[in-house]
């Protein structure tokens, strides 16, 4: 039996197809990168155990497919997420433009209790490509968008080189954790025998 309480965090990775969601996850979990593109179908799931401030927790990472035809899976997949990671490709303008849609779609489908403060993290991936020469979305522009959406943490990453991947996931875990911490007291009702049988109340326990 677990002596110490562990927390499980559900992390959803969203973004256009081909921005490198699976590669980021692979780099983070398996420390591996492949140049070959293999489209994710539906979703892939990975788990990673992370130690953070003396606490052990498990990231359950939902790597979703970017293609639009998979969007119907949204509700099923997003429910109960602790953090949502939005990924775009700094070399593809459209993937950045889509971030707004991804975010809104997520908030609609997942309908978290406090959408304003739901933890997102934005990753601008593939900063290594062509030495940064093919880049079309500037860091400034990206940061501005993040700021406008309630100061979403932003990282520039390269799944290929492993740049900022670990750091980004640290923040993902941290942000997911802070809102997961509020505890509620579990207090179910006690049976009121009186509602079953009105006579019982009188003869109920006197103590």
């Amino acid at each position: 039996m677990p002596s110490r309480r562990r927390t499980l965090l559900k992390v959803i990775i969203l973004g256009d197809s081909g921005v490198g969601k699976t590669s980021l996850m692979n780099q983070y979990v398996n420390k591996k990168f492949s140049n070959q593109y293999k489209a994710t179908i539906g979703a892939d799931f990975l788990t990673k155990e992370v130690q953070f401030e003396d606490r052990l927790f498990t990231l359950q990472i939902w790597d979703t497919a970017g293609q639009e035809r998979f969007q119907s899976l949204g509700v099923a997949f997003y429910r109960g997420a602790d953090c949502c990671v939005l990924v775009y490709d700094v070399n593809v303008q459209k993937s950045f433009d889509s971030l707004n849609n991804w975010r809104e779609e997520f908030l609609i489908q997942a309908s978290p209790s406090d959408p304003e403060n739901f933890p997102f993290v934005v990753l601008g991936n593939k900063v290594d490509v062509d030495g940064g020469n093919s880049r079309v979305v500037s860091e400034k522009k990206a940061r501005a968008w993040c700021a406008s959406k309630g100061n979403i943490p932003y990282f520039e990453t390269s799944a290929k080189e492993g740049i900022n991947v670990e750091e980004a996931f640290q923040v993902i875990a941290k942000n997911a954790l802070t809102i997961g911490d509020e505890e509620e007291i579990y207090l179910p009702d006690t049976i009121d025998v009186g509602s079953n049988n009105s006579q019982q109340r009188a003869s109920g326990c006197e103590c």
Binding site: K10, T47, S72, A81, G180, I191, N196, C207
Partner: protein, 625 residues
């Protein structure tokens, strides 16, 4: 199965339920695409059939590509659909058999009708990557046939424990906590039970570490939610010889993955009980927590209860109460049970909702406030909870519990105290303040019980055991009205210790090996003591599974209700007889003569009636006031 005549390979009695084959569910990559494909195929095949009446629609096979080696395919499919007919209860289910693209035989059972297949994406070519499984397919095909034949003979897992001491012998808590879905040992387990939340977070797994299984649990959620999104519900996926049974209870998803060949209805019933056990610990207020917060993590609330779940799962292979939905009593002289009942009634009148005196899993006496009914399933779950929680044994306890069949939404309070090593008293109340009152009640009860020698009678009964097949009165004139009369006679002549070991070899009259009699009005059953041909735990477990299957086939909603069944295979002759008053399940030697067996069954029923005031709790049936 009765029709299988060929001999089956001897099964090994491993300690764990282990399958030679890994599950066909693709757990390694935790990718659901393949499964989604399969489901999608099923959906479209169902859509094709919507014009046909679903009850009569024949199952149709859709081969998406030529199957390479299908030597046994015809017979397999025949047997599969045969099995299916006897194992699926709900008549509303539409059926579709199909093949996965990678040639694995998979059938998906969906609950509601689907009006056309949802416009879900097709995953072009991806399944092909997985390929290389055609050889596996043929292997699993033949294996499935073999599995059918030696169904029940594959003991294992829980088989090592004798039926009457299962509570004391095994290690509490989870075994193999280091495993995850990538472990070969985990994949080889014969029967998995997994509970997860509707967001895919693992809550409980019989084997392995829940957190390490997070990916697997996410896959299960994705499959369930995908089907749900289409306005449907997945009940069963058949993959090779594995059955994956799903049960959705609001925000709680329960899944059983099994290659034990138990009927679908039985596995589903086990999931229901597992859910009930969780409700007993937490109530259905859980639903509200999930409504408010889908991220809700209930594992901390279940802290320390793993032994409760594993003990319940264990009882699925030895305790007939888990499928009979009836409870059993410790045999006692009528006056003794009356004396116990009187003192319990006394405290019940002072505001105790239920007062239950039990010895192991058997009821000594039980009393409830008028109109308050206690369902046998609730008793099973409550007894399991008490017996599997070590702390109840060491001190008097007061604990909130919920009786799911009584009121799933709210807590009751249980005062639990062990009067001796095996005998315990449970007093249920609605008041959280009642501890001291109940303590007083217990002291009163304990005093009366020891003065009236009830406790020593209980111990004696435990030693003497229940009905024995050797004692079935063959000569109707030599009937005795008391069970103890017989047992005492034997005690006088035999060694005190191992009474039931003395009859070796032949079983009872006409080759009777064992029987279970369930009284329908009383919600109680009596099971004969296990004697020689079924004295070992593996034989007992095999017989248990055979009874379970018999029960499921007798209660099959599509075919049944049936009145009698006589079935002979290489292991037994099984005879089942269902009337308005009782159900009798009897096992005979495989060579037993049919007419003689029937005669013996009549004798057994007569015998049970003769001694019913000693083996049953009469006049106080809690469920039929």
């Amino acid at each position: 199965m009765a029709s299988d005549s060929s001999s089956s390979p001897p099964s090994s009695d491993e300690e764990e339920e282990s399958a030679g084959q890994k599950p066909n569910v693709d757990v390694k990559t935790n990718s659901i695409d393949n499964s989604l494909d399969a489901i999608e195929n099923q959906l479209s095949s169902i859509a094709l059939k919507t014009s046909i009446d679903e009850r009569t629609a024949p199952s149709t096979d859709y081969d998406h590509e030529p199957v390479v080696s299908e030597i046994d395919d015809g017979s397999l499919r025949e047997s599969v659909s045969e099995r299916q007919r006897s194992s699926i209860g709900e008549s509303s289910s539409s059926r579709a058999a199909g093949l996965w693209r990678n040639n694995l035989e998979v059938e998906v059972e969906l609950e509601a009708e689907v009006d056309g297949a949802p416009s879900s994406p097709s995953s072009s070519g991806y399944a092909g990557e997985r390929g290389s499984s055609s050889s596996v397919t043929s292997a699993s095909g033949t294996d499935a046939i073999r599995e059918l034949r030696d169904n029940g003979s594959s003991m294992g897992d829980d088989g090592m424990v004798p039926l009457d001491s299962s509570q004391t012998q095994w290690i509490h808590g989870k075994r193999h906590a280091d495993e995850d879905d990538a472990s070969i040992s985990w994949r080889r387990r014969k029967k998995h039970f997994i509970i997860l939340s509707h967001s895919g977070k693992p809550i409980y797994s019989r084997y392995g570490d829940e957190h390490k299984l997070a990916g697997f649990s996410a896959t299960l959620q994705a499959i369930i939610s995908f089907v749900e999104n289409g306005g449907d519900r997945v009940k069963l996926v058949r993959a090779g010889k594995h059955q994956v049974v799903f049960l959705v209870k609001g925000p709680i998803y329960l899944v059983c993955i099994s290659c034990t060949e138990e009927p679908y209805d039985s596995l589903r019933g086990q999931l229901e009980l597992l859910y009930g056990q969780m409700i007993l610990i937490l109530t259905r207020s859980l639903d509200r927590c999930f409504e408010k917060n889908p991220k809700f993590d209930m594992t901390p609330l279940l802290g320390g209860t793993e032994a409760v779940f594993s003990s319940l799962i264990r009882s699925f292979s030895w305790n007939p109460a888990t499928f009979l939905h009836a409870y059993t009593c410790l045999p006692l002289a009528y006056a003794t049970r009356q004396a116990a009942g009187a003192i319990l009634q006394d405290v019940a009148d002072s505001g105790v909702l239920f007062a239950i005196l039990m010895c192991k899993d058997k009821v000594v006496s039980l009393v409830g406030l008028q109109k308050a009914s206690l369902h046998p399933d609730d008793m099973l779950l409550l007894a399991n909870f008490v017996m599997s929680s070590e702390s109840f044994r060491t001190s008097e306890s007061f604990s909130p519990i919920c009786l799911p069949r009584y009121n799933p939404m709210a807590f009751l309070y249980a005062y639990v105290h062990y009067l001796d090593v095996e005998t315990y008293l449970i007093l249920l109340t609605t008041s959280s303040q009642a501890f001291f009152h109940l303590k007083e009640c217990r002291i009163r009860i304990e005093t009366v019980l020891s003065k009236s020698n009830v406790l020593s009678e209980v111990q004696r009964s435990l030693l003497e055991g229940s009905m024995r097949i050797e004692d079935v009165p063959v000569d109707p004139t030599a009937r005795s009205g008391s069970l103890f009369h017989l047992n005492q006679r034997r005690l006088a002549t035999d060694s005190q210790e191992r009474v039931h070991e003395t009859f070796v070899g032949i079983g009872g009259p006409a080759g009777l090996w064992h029987f279970i009699y369930r009284s329908i009005y009383l919600d109680q059953y009596v099971s004969s003591e296990f004697a020689s041909p079924v004295s070992g735990p593996p034989q007992q477990k095999r017989l248990y599974r055979a009874y379970q299957k018999l029960y499921a086939s007798m209660h099959d909603k599509e075919v049944g209700p049936n009145k009698t069944q006589f079935r002979r295979d290489e292991n037994y002759v099984l005879l089942c007889w269902v009337t308005q008053d009782f159900e009798l399940y009897a096992a005979f030697d495989p060579l037993a003569d049919k007419s003689v067996a029937i005669r013996i069954c009549n004798r057994v029923c007569q015998w049970v009636k003769d001694v019913e005031n000693e083996i049953f709790l009469l006049g106080a049936s809690p469920f039929s006031w």
